[in-house]
Every structure is written in C-alpha cells, then in structure tokens.
Subunit: 285 residues, 2 copies
C-alpha cells in the first residue's frame, strides 16, 4: 500500500537511548527528504499539501526530535544537541545520505546536522529561519513575543498569526491550511509539553546570543542550499534569510510575496515546485 | 520558418518620430515577453540560451530603445523618458498587453513602463536592478567605476568582469556566454555610441539621486513581479533587489549563488525555468 501524510503509520527507531517517532512515505529509491519541525510543532504540523506534494517524486521522512511529542528523551538546551539527536535518528534508519529541510527552529537544527555530519547531507533547505546571532534572534522579535504571549480562543488562532500575514489573502490561505492540517484524523501526535517548549525556547535564545564573527561558521557549509521565506516574517525576521544567503558558500534565496513565517503553508504548490527544482537540478554552482 | 535568436531578422517600427529596431520570434498566441537591455547593450547582448529558452513557449520581443544602436532618435536624459519611448514602441506593434523583462538599466525602464502604462503590463521581471535612490545608485558603486574605468584587451574582458564573479565557476560560465553571444554572425547590431552611453549614464544618475520617501512609488506597481539577481552584484548592489522585493506590493525574489550582475547569463536554464514558472503560474498572490 502506498501511504500518504494521512495514512502513514507512526513508526519508531531507537538510538542512543531515545525512541524516535517517525513517519516515512512517498516514492522510494532516491535520496530521502528529512523534515525538521518548528517550535512547539509535531509531525502533524507539516502541511499535507507539502509533504504529499514531495512524496510523489521522493521519499519523505517526518520525525519528532528527542523529547518532542511521541519521541522519548529530553529536549536539549542547545540546538547543537538537537542536531546531534537528529543525526542519531537518521543513522538509526541506516541512511547514508539525505536531503535535509528545516523550518524555523528546525532550520537551526538542519544547519547543525550539516555542520556536524557533512557527509550525511546532500542538499539543504532552510525555511523561515536564520543564522546564529541573527537579527532579534537572541531575545525574539517584539511581534513574536506579543503573538506567542497573547491568549486565543483556539490554538488555530495562534498559528494563523504566527504563520500568515494579516492580509485577507494570506489569512484565507491560512484557513485552508488549518483544514488540511486536520485531515489526518487517526493516530495524531500528542501536543508538545510546556516543558519541552520551554527548553526549545532556551535553545533558540542560546543560538541567537550575540557573538563576534557570528556568521563565519556559515562558510563551513558547502552543500547546495535553498533559503526560503515570506516577505514579512515577524517571528524570525526576513532579513535573516537574506543574511543566510549572503554568507553561505552556495545558496539560492527565494522570498514569497505577502507571506510571513509560514510561507510554505501559504504557497504549498509553488514551494514544492521551487524546492523540487532545486533538489533535482543536476548541475549546481 | 521558425526564427531563433540567431536568425530573427531585424525589423523596424515607427512611433513618435523614432524608428525602433526590433526582433520578434518564438511561439505566438500568448502574451509576448518584451526585453529591456542593460547599459551599453544592444539586441545582440541578450543570451541566446535565455531568449531561445523562452521562445519555445512564448513570443520574445527584443528591441533597441530610442537612440541605441540600430534605432533612430536620441537617448533621453531620464529613465522616465526611456520608459515613454518603450511604451511608444510596444504600442506601435499594436500590442495591448505584454510581460516586461528588464535587466540593469532595462529594469529601471521596465519600472517606468509599468508606472506610466499599467494596463499594458501583465507581469514584470526585474533582473540585476534596483529602486529609485537605491544603495549606491546615485554615484555608481566603487567596484563598478573601477570595472568600467579600466582598459581591456577586448570588450569581452569588460563583460566578464561586469556580469560574472571572479570565481573559477562563474568565469567559466562567462566564457560560455561569450561563445553563445557570438553565435549570431549576420546582421548584428552596431555597438552603442559613446554619446548614447554617456546619456544613459546621466539618466541612471538621475534615477539614483537621493530623495525623501524614495521607495514609496513602488507601492503603485500592482503587477505580480519577479525580482532576480546574483548573490554578489557589484554593479547594482544585490541589496537593492532585496529592497525592491520588500517594498513592492506583490513580488517574489530569487537570488542565485556565486553570481554577479549577469545572473541570467550564468544560469540561463535555471533562469528560464524560474521565470517561466512565475509567468505561467495561474494563481498569484
């Protein structure tokens, strides 16, 4: 049976004392694409239009990193620790090379995976994310603090503000995402615990802390990299995507119009097309 | 007979006392793509890999603006004047709607076309260019002055420095471009005169002059716009492409790795694919 985002069973892989929950589906035989999730997100927070879109042409692997949702263990206090855990997970599947996609905090983890295990990573996709010591990444943005600090009738209302702009078109796209997000009705992941969220927050602050020559490390990443964001990300400012592209050795940047942190959720078809084109391109600078 | 970049005859259209030289080829029936050339460039300075790449799926129109190469008339002292001339030319062909691509100074002209005749323009592609009062666009960049001010054994050596980065890969791509650039052997355009170049330079300086609220005008452009540049444009700094995307109403940005002012010449296939995907996309923000 060919599985989809909705039907893929949650499986488990053991590594270094952690039982990692994952789902794996799509067209096997090539280099799988491993998805690294955003702050407070579980495997269910990926957009089925994105994951199933990729699954037509490649294998897709979703997972909960250590301490998150269905995975055992504890969320580390550093992004480097999360990167090490992600590498353990990928190796536990017996994989020698993968493409790595990271969204928000997942984009920080994706950078750490690449730095710590360069042989494991063929190509890198960084969405709605930034470099160490990026602009307003130590304290978080004022907009982000207001959005995450407010109270909402439903968690949906939080995500509509985090991931989409206030424009009518973006909010409409957001409501369509919420509908897709609910489509998987069985065996959903449990929500991320407050403790796990608080540890994730500490790790982001640690990553964002101001350092001298903070961006030099990006020159160590030699993999072809695609950096993607919305024009108006107020969670991790869009300029951080520009900084990533300017400092990385070999990166292409795409910014989408009238889009916020969740540009991939707003334009899932364009995102899948743009990323697939990048991943499949034979010759690359 | 189906024409290509190499075989398309130079034709002429008369408007407002100017005899405009143009070449028109490719697949008719859709919205034609009108190309606006860079400083000191003629129709021959377009890359056949780009123009023939587009011509497979759409009609391509190259032209010399007034006072340039095979066209009569005089180069205006302002970009606004060049935009008005370009509009005259497009209307002289009897066209009601076109897609407009502009490269470098052609990107400034493309903005003026859109501002002055919004109904004429369906979608806009701005390559290696910037906004009014853009960063270092009043005086020109120090790198640009050095590059254009130096003496070269061959004009090829000038363009290799203007359009490509110093990296081995970029220079190799540059030499391939030069080979393609020579492929049209008959009925080439004459070089741009020193007087025309000097007037173009004055118009660029005028466009670049510092103004208050200089970027507000970009909000008047409602057309879906794709902004493209290389990661390291030292002629019109890459940050100007970021500024365009951030201030335009509805723009997508793509920056290519290890590329300079001539990113479209370095990655012609990727450029054609990315731009075609943008032009053909049915739904747009």
């Amino acid at each position: 049976m060919t599985h989809t985002h909705q039907t893929a069973p949650t499986q488990f892989a053991e590594a270094n004392g952690v039982r990692f929950a994952y789902r794996r589906f799509g067209k096997p035989g090539g280099v799988p694409l491993v998805f690294n999730m955003h702050f407070m997100g579980t495997m269910d927070h990926w957009d089925p239009a994105v994951t199933d879109g990729f699954a037509k042409d490649r294998e897709v692997i979703l997972f909960d990193n250590a301490g998150v949702s269905s995975s055992s263990g504890q969320v580390p206090h550093t992004i480097a620790g999360m990167g090490a855990n992600a590498i353990d997970f990928v190796r536990a599947l017996g994989l020698k090379q993968v493409d790595v996609l990271g969204f928000s905090i997942g984009g920080l983890v994706a950078q750490e995976i690449t730095l710590q295990a360069p042989d494991l990573v063929r190509r890198l996709v960084l969405v709605g994310t930034g470099p160490r010591s990026g602009e307003s990444m130590d304290t978080g943005t004022p907009e982000g603090k207001e959005i995450f600090g407010a109270t909402y009738k439903s968690p949906d209302d939080l995500w509509l503000r985090v991931q989409f702009t206030p424009s009518e078109a973006s909010q409409a796209a957001g409501r369509e995402f919420i509908t897709r997000f609910r489509r998987r009705s069985e065996n959903r992941d449990p929500e991320v615990s407050q403790e796990a969220a608080s540890r994730q927050r500490a790790a982001i602050g640690n990553w964002g802390a101001k350092r001298d020559n903070a961006w030099d490390y990006l020159k160590q990443i030699k993999q072809p990299t695609l950096v993607v964001n919305g024009s108006n990300d107020v969670i991790i400012y869009t300029v951080n995507s520009f900084i990533l592209q300017q400092r990385l050795h070999n990166a292409k940047l795409i910014l989408y119009p009238d889009a916020a942190h969740g540009s991939l959720l707003q334009y899932p078809e364009m995102f899948v097309r743009d990323v697939s084109s990048f991943l499949d391109q034979k010759q690359w600078a």
